[in-house]
Symmetry: C3
Subunit: 347 residues, 3 copies
């Protein structure tokens, strides 16, 4: 009976979370201006320029202009980010033998849960400016995908260390904390973080590391990881598939919430930085591994260029600046993964 409960607790917690989401959506969430028929748009306040204004006087000009972005501008970038979250992250981890079909499935479940949950949580922080309603628009669901990215990064750190039900509890709690962190960084400090280096990548990684340290036990370092890290030729191919999808769509990730000419810079800077980190990562891996490529270094090195320019990608970095950032990120990240052996114990 107790064992039965342990097994079923995953389904119960996951199911109840979704029911809670359903009820909270019923109370708080409605379509935004774009998805509302013209005849019903009278419910929206307008600012002095006649623009729909559902965030109140505190709305910045930049955010207002975002709310008028047409479908094609944002939508194809949203779909690119969607692929990164569900295919990219899902298959990234398949280089470990045990993290195969079940791992991709867990990625699928947790990302689906967090996208919905984070629409609510982010919405709550913005509600006071928003007539106490949460209005769905394209930027809301792009931001929801970003939050899924945060928890998947943490998931990568604690992979294989928690039970299914613990993963569900982890992501529900982490999403709340990530929103608090985002509120502090973006609203209180006013930091610029369009590609989410601080609020997504750093937060996700440190949350995962902190959690891993808390639950760390000595015996894991020895046998379980050798087993976990063992992969075959085909595991590596699936893993490359995930890595390459993350690589390809990173310019969309960094540019999705940028506007005007800074969106172009976000695309060009990310494109150059991440291409350079591919070179930097592979070169470093070849040197330190004596003419071999290992998946763990390659995966970390090649993608580091996208992370490193995340916060600064809308700035006027110059193209050579992006290449320099990416190249150094690729080299340092690969060296770090090779030499900082504690990461082998924890991660």
């Amino acid at each position: 009976m107790d064992r039965k409960w342990n097994l079923m607790s995953f389904a119960v917690v996951l199911g109840l979370s979704e029911v809670a989401i359903l009820i909270l959506f019923g109370i708080f969430v409605d379509y935004g201006w774009d998805g509302t028929p013209v005849s019903l748009r009278g419910q929206f306040l307008h600012d002095s320029h006649g623009n729909p204004n559902y965030r109140g006087p505190g709305t910045s000009a930049q955010e207002l202009s975002q709310s008028r972005v047409s479908i094609p501008d944002s939508y194809s970038m949203f779909q690119d980010v969607h692929v990164m979250i569900f295919i990219g992250f899902g298959f990234l981890m398949t280089f470990m033998r045990r993290y195969g079909y079940g791992g991709v499935g867990f990625n699928f479940i947790l990302a689906s849960l967090v996208t919905q949950w984070s629409i609510l949580m982010r919405g709550f922080f913005e509600m006071p400016e928003n007539h106490y309603r949460i209005r769905l628009d394209m930027n809301k669901i792009i931001a929801a995908e970003f939050s899924a990215g945060t928890i998947l990064i943490s998931l990568g750190v604690v992979l294989g260390k928690l039970s299914p039900v613990q993963y569900v509890i982890m992501v529900v709690v982490e999403t709340v904390l990530a929103m608090v962190n985002e509120y502090i960084v973006l609203y209180l400090y006013g930091a610029v973080d369009v590609g989410g280096t601080i609020t997504i990548h750093l937060f996700g990684a440190y949350f995962g590391l902190a959690l891993a340290r808390t639950i760390h036990r000595r015996e894991w370092s020895t046998d379980m990881f050798n087993d976990l890290k063992y992969g075959t030729h085909y595991n590596d191919l699936f893993s490359m598939c995930g890595t390459v999808f993350l690589f390809m769509f990173w310019p969309s990730f960094n540019a999705a919430l940028a506007v005007g000419d800074s969106r172009y810079r976000a695309i060009f800077n990310t494109y150059l930085a991440i291409s350079s980190s591919v070179i930097g990562g592979f070169v470093t891996c070849w040197i330190v591994k004596n003419g071999k490529f290992t998946m763990d270094i390659v995966q970390n090195g090649t993608l580091s260029g996208g992370v490193i320019v995340g916060s600064v990608c809308t700035l006027y970095l110059y193209p050579w600046g992006s290449i320099l950032c990416g190249l150094m990120a690729g080299v340092i990240s690969s060296l770090g993964f090779h030499y900082v052996t504690v990461s082998h114990n924890i991660n």
Copy 2:
């Protein structure tokens, strides 16, 4: 000699179908307004508003506005649907050991044939309003992809039960019947079915089930299916790949032919419904399978949210309504797959 003919009949029927398509395209099909140089646009009639009107007085205002949709609006959604048809459906079935590379190849052949064939067949029904010409535009090829979806759903039901040449004959005949059904449902009854739940998913499934019942023989239920359904770790990963691509691009599928603010609602409703059906499907599977995920339930449950809101996705469902639809679809679909054992015999 007879055996040789049996073998070659596939190539002969497939080749002759393509030649017939070539001849019919030569007689009936031309580029639409968008793909015609300005100097040649005089051939198009114009309505009283000065819009190009190549469908005659019967054209609805909605369809006219669709014919003016610019490339980016529709094109990225078309490509998403294209990926669903060729990657999503192709790899969905790879969880069966026998349906590997050959199955993906058959999917590739049949979908290529049906996209072209359905442009002709759908065009014939619209020709009387259209000066007896078929004009290619972006919506025509999106609709062609939808028809490919119809036959691939039927294909999933009769998989492994027909010979190659029979598959070709099946899809050629089914496309004609699907167009008749579409004409009855959309034009005679005037049903709203923007995401194709009725004309694509239901028609495809029932056509396949009817065909399977006709050709059903008892011995299939016993040995052949156990063999067909057996898969390995890697089969499951390929299959997850197909499932996740279908999941990701379903909002594009439902929204591709919607216009204006209803396109936004189609995106948001589908996004929420399909995410919820992922949770509903996995939770139900975990409970009925005692803490395991089986590919057949997962594939059906997770995608049911996209199907269920297909017809209604442009309505003002409210976000919680989409979540409720999706959650129930995921649960009911998974329960059905588990308990209705006749489906194991037929499907």
Copy 3:
């Protein structure tokens, strides 16, 4: 020591190439008009119509209109091409047993290097008209992806015949020669080649063949290739994945640099031609192989429709013309691959 140098030469040459790219980007490259804040746009000259003109009096009207293409028009097509280069080409070759994870990795490295290198090389040819600066815009990075395609086609020919460092040297040299060829074909002869049949596919293939002939040794024909060409069920599935991604996004490849109504024709013509070549290729393969599909024929036949209409896809071919081109390309390409046995020795 000498062996150590042989091993490390790859990392040294690749790393130095990237450093050279960094320095040359620092000297020559800046953001284009689209990525420049309004306050800094005074640095651009304007033509008599008030359009930003950073290519001087020699700029054609078509190119000027391209420089104003908004993000969504080009960007989703750029991402489609990006997927073709990194996933499509990367996984295309995985049907050979030895060309698995390492092959996808090499594809990843070389394509990342060439996209950056070709921005410089193509920019140098355009610099005299461009105030001796290279300005990054969306078309520049689409063209850079095309150049990556060129070298990946050559790579497919010489696969398994060069050492890692030789691949790097090959692509660095080939990119320069490809730019010279492009300059001659497009600027001196004024050829129309919007889909790159001449400058990308033909140049890449003949460069690869010439190189293969130069380095050809007799013993390769016998044992090494039997080994190289051997694949498993899963290799074939990965390879189908690459093939289908190339197939799906070919309309974007051919249409990415077209403008106005010719972009629509590029999409429709490529869509019909490549679907028809799928039928032509599979039918021919089935006949010549006695009812079997072999990956090498399938891969070449199915994609030939996209190549064949590359140069002419913007012309008023009529839909039936595209189908005829594609069907013949599929048949001839598959027959060629089956009967011209010298290709087995060289390729």
